[in-house]
Symmetry: none
Subunit: 208 residues, 4 copies
DNA sequence: GATGAATGAGCCTTCATTCAT
DNA sequence: TATGAATGAAGGCTCATTCAT
């Protein structure tokens, strides 16, 4: 029984993933999943309450995994003394990016699902979540270092949101384009340099 | 009613737009469009070959309009002497952005359609086109100014692609979030400063 | 077109009626109706919003027809002078019954549907409606003739309800058992005599 | 839990009763019963062959209990000398009714099941049985007392059936409406007076 | 006795599209 | 041009029941 249970569930998950990847959430039919998996619709509903529940099951672990990874990195950094933060912020970002990319490439299919095939699910803009976390911690960082960008109005939360969105969009382009992990690392490194310059520019006083 | 009868096509387009905006391309049913428009399915098929053709008709003009605007700006700039280009590049970008934003806000619904409701159509990533144009012209710019970023491998087309994607994603966040035109202009201005810094950083020699 | 329209609708109604009659509302499947009717599911939904809508369409005309007939008879009687009412009440009932039975037998299938096959629909206790009308008018009759049965508490609305239910149940037994119209008339006539005696008994003073 | 584990059968019966009462036989799903009962489908099928078998088990004891009670009362009465029967028939009915009501209220849920939730089962008109018994004994009574109602054709078995149906319908309205036992007793007493008058009327010679 | 995964036919309903008029 | 009835495949999902363990 144990063996068979795992098999059916595994088959459903595997084929579900494949189908979602191939056609996207909305155009994937349950019937097709179970047919490909060689099981019946009834069997499916023994495991999941509906199509979205399967998608969720496929994707939730990595969503919260990434989120946890990301938040803990932000938290750890945030708890450092202000002067240290100031000094290491860009290097820290670089290290963090590497772990971020590593995590993504350890669960590539799932991120592909999230980025490319999630329309019609609750995950259709999961990036938004990350953006919000980043914005939150960026605000904390700016405040804690005594930077005047916020109080002067040079930066607003909305602007941070937009910049952050730009950043994550760029990062997930690696997934959209099926880059190799190595390429992704290289590009994100460059991207970081690019963004670092940007951050420096808007965190420092205007000199237009 | 007489006046209303006059334009079946207009009614289809209006209601189609409304429905697509409300539910997205895939979840919009043709029957609902024609019902709302007060016409029949048969009438619809007199104008469009299918549901996607209507979406296309709604969106194609602004897609190519923006594309044309964008390309001509890039072309005009590209045809300037290298030293001039070098000097004015960032100001030029700023002006171009304003026209870009103006165009978007003159056709806000259509861009909303493209950004938010196009999943399932050929326009699901229409930004890609713009990115490619930008990459193409950025390459030309770099080459024509004798910058060594490309030959040194510091920059690759893929990296340009990613940065460009980031930029356009950010720009279209204004649409996603229903910003006012004025807010959008402000944010994109800031965004430009941010990206300008980035460009400077990666176009200049490494100094890590 | 007219001819075909009528045919499809008629076929759906006819076969729907047959199927409902054969299996009852809940056990009748739409698929079977349309299959028997030689049309498609899509065609069905052009006419009715769902299975219950078809049942309703089949049955509503006679439900309200009978109700109207019944109410108007009750009203007419109720508007007579009290002494006349007193005198003719039982004969009046007899005449009314005949028209009632006539109406039922003019729409026998529909009443069979209502009595035997309506479980799961809003008509599952349509008799209740008739009972309430009868109770309402019986109360008026008792009051208007100065009878003390109500004020003395010898009769209550609940008791009237029960007796009325008994009466209509009995009447519709004719349908349940597929009696001929002639048999039905005879039985209801006897039933009326039976109930008349009962009414006399409880409307008159207790003499236990 | 230990105690709870002790009686799988009881749990099935309890939850089955609850579910049938809540949704009716057809709309009750076996899966839901076993889920509520905290047992498995397999366990269920160890006790009952199918869903209807459970319903039957729930309801059969009281059906035959009532039947037995009813038949024995009828038999006892029937075995009395004709002249005695004649004299006491209506009082006898009254006493019998009390025991009848008592029995119903001792098994209220089961009767509710029978009256309100049995559609789709063989018990959907369990009253029929009682009616037939009553008709049978009424015929015997009429014959044994030498009444000419039958031979004269004034009364027929079908008429008896209808009147009997009316009576039992009325009695079970108490269950349909969740009357208290006391109210039920009162109403049935009134009902008996009502029906007694009716019986007298049709057993005696016509005098219209 | 009991498990509970699996069956698979069946349910109602929606859809883009066609076509005779 | 326009009608709108009809198509019929496909959708997600539920169900009583079985059976290997």
């Amino acid at each position: 029984m144990e063996k068979n249970d795992l098999n059916t569930l595994r088959k459903i998950m595997n084929e579900g993933k494949k189908e979602f990847l191939k056609k996207g959430f909305k155009d994937t039919s349950l019937r097709n999943i179970v047919k490909q998996a060689g099981v019946t619709t009834g069997a499916f509903y023994g495991y999941y309450s509906d199509k979205e529940a399967l998608f969720e099951a496929l994707v939730t672990p990595v969503v919260s995994g990434l989120r946890k990874l990301f938040i803990s990195a932000q938290k750890d950094f945030n708890e450092l003394p202000a002067d240290i933060k100031q000094k290491i912020v860009y290097n820290y970002t670089s290290d963090e990016s590497k772990r971020f990319i590593a995590y993504i490439y350890d669960h590539f299919d799932e991120f592909k699902l999230l980025i490319t095939c999630s329309d019609g699910t609750d995950f259709s803009d999961f990036v938004h979540d990350l953006v919000e976390v980043e914005v939150e911690y960026t605000l904390k960082f700016i405040e804690s270092t005594g930077n005047d960008a916020l109080v002067s109005g040079r930066i607003t939360p909305e602007l941070l949101h937009i910049i952050s969105s730009a950043y994550f969009s760029a990062v997930f382009e690696t997934v959209k384009h099926d880059m190799t992990k190595e390429a992704a690392e290289r590009y994100v490194e460059s991207l970081n340099q690019f963004f670092t310059a940007g951050w420096k520019r808007i965190l420092e006083k205007d000199e237009d």
